[in-house]
């Protein structure tokens, strides 16, 4: 029923899931990303939070940072939501739907980080939160320009060679994902990874990596 015409990058469609106008699909390329995200979500779900140890210099004193059950639960919930959103973004066959999944990844990332009660980390979480919020403009603007100029949002049609997508829309999509997934912004990430709760923080990295690989595939195929 549905066929991808441009199979240079991702190969033939393995399966598709129709939801009304939004028809999601899996190709060998996206299937790998999907499994990658799924594995890390499961790791985040079953693992216990790491407990950091601070050692005071010049003495034998050291103290462990405590992670409360409440905070652990909250972070685990956010990590699971982040993993699901990432998987959704990988599956999605519709540009606007993809941007929404990306926005969801952005807000769950804020949640994972913001649950830690430390002024230094909260400062960074705020900085990143502003970035994620600002990033929704390029995302939605990119999707909107695609609809207006091509008349469709479905990737099945956008990937055909007949449809040309304006360069600016593609660029906007890419920089939108940059902000939401925080892919290249390792400055802020370094600060964030200092926070306790390792397996959950991991999801921030996984989601940004997977979403970035996906958006590059979309932009090149269009």
């Amino acid at each position: 029923m549905y066929e991808l015409e441009n199979i240079n990058i991702e190969g033939q469609v393995v399966t598709f899931i129709p939801f009304g106008d939004i028809v999601g699909y899996l190709t060998p390329y996206t299937a790998i990303l999907f499994i990658f995200a799924a594995v890390f979500t499961i790791i985040a779900l079953i693992s216990k939070p790491e407990k950091q140890v601070d050692i005071a210099f010049g003495g034998d004193a050291y103290y462990t940072k405590n992670v409360s059950v409440k905070q652990m639960r909250f972070q685990r919930f956010m990590a699971a939501a982040c993993g699901l959103a990432t998987m959704g973004g990988v599956l999605s066959g519709d540009v606007f739907n993809f941007t929404l999944f990306t926005a969801m990844v952005g807000i769950t990332n804020i949640g994972i980080v913001a649950s830690i009660k430390n002024r230094h980390i909260l400062d960074n979480a705020y900085e990143y939160g502003i970035l994620a919020m600002v990033g929704t403009l390029p995302l939605f603007a990119g999707a909107a320009i695609i609809v207006a100029t091509t008349g469709t949002l479905s990737m099945w049609i956008l990937f055909t060679p007949l449809v040309t997508v304006p360069l600016v829309a593609k660029l906007l999509l890419v920089i939108g994902v940059l902000a939401e997934g925080m892919a290249p912004v390792y400055v802020a990430k370094a600060e964030i990874t200092r926070a306790p709760g390792a397996p959950f923080i991991l999801m921030v990295h996984v989601s940004s990596l997977v979403l970035f690989l996906r958006v590059i595939e979309i932009v090149i195929s269009m």
Binding site: F19, G20, F96, L100, A103, G106, I107, I110, G111, A114, R119, L122, D123, A125, Y126, G129, I130, A132, M133, V134, T136, L137, F140, A141, A143, A144, I145, V147, A148
Partner: protein, 203 residues
């Protein structure tokens, strides 16, 4: 340079682009954290403008998610801002006038009923305002937890409606009603929670 526009859309897009330039320039220059939070709202609205330029019914359907994402993120960020700045001071004296002792019951009942008649998104907002007024006057401690539960169930309603639409479309009428109820309860509950979230015993 004389720009020649192929259609109205390009002209609108140019204006949108100029707005984006101004907004991001402001974002670049601003250093105060609170002002930057306010500027993000400006940026969200320009995103909606760009979506609205499409000018079809589809655009209207896309604006709602866009708007909600903006509201949701600003809510979470504002809470982070409060947390990081340690702003937990509770208001000392709260507005006390006679009408707040006598009116809440009847006024919120009227608004609730009117909201049910309107139904859907608008109805939810009206009913939410009614509930908000009630809690504002009567005080609420544990009631917000009930509201949270309601909004959770509303979300489930919506998801069930979606599943019905996708799997058994011949029952579309049931799904429409379910989604309508879901959005009504969700908007009403969320509005009330936002209004009452102030960390005070009275409000």
């Amino acid at each position: 340079m004389i720009l020649s526009f192929t259609d109205d859309y390009s002209f609108g897009l140019l204006i949108g682009f100029v707005c984006i330039l101004i907004a991001f320039f402001a974002m670049m220059k601003e250093t105060d954290d609170l002002h930057r939070l306010l500027l993000t709202d400006v940026i969200e609205i320009i995103a909606l403008v760009i979506i609205a330029l499409i000018g079809t019914d589809l655009a209207e359907a896309l604006i709602l998610p866009g708007l909600v994402v903006g509201i949701a993120e600003i809510l979470a960020l504002a809470e982070i801002y409060i947390e990081k700045e340690g702003l937990v001071k509770t208001p000392e004296n709260f507005l006390k006038i006679e009408i707040m002792d006598t009116a809440p019951g009847i006024l919120s009942a009227i608004m609730l009923i009117y909201g049910v008649i309107l139904s859907g998104f608008t109805g939810g907002a009206v009913a939410g305002l009614g509930l908000l007024f009630y809690f504002l006057c009567r005080g609420s401690q544990k009631k917000t937890q009930i509201l949270e539960t309601i909004s959770g169930y509303a979300w489930v309603c919506w998801v069930v409606a979606f599943i019905v639409f996708m799997t058994i479309p011949q029952y579309w009428f049931f799904a429409v009603m379910l989604a309508g109820t879901g959005i009504f309860a969700k908007v009403a509950a969320k509005m009330t929670i936002v209004g009452t979230m102030r960390g005070n015993r009275d409000v």
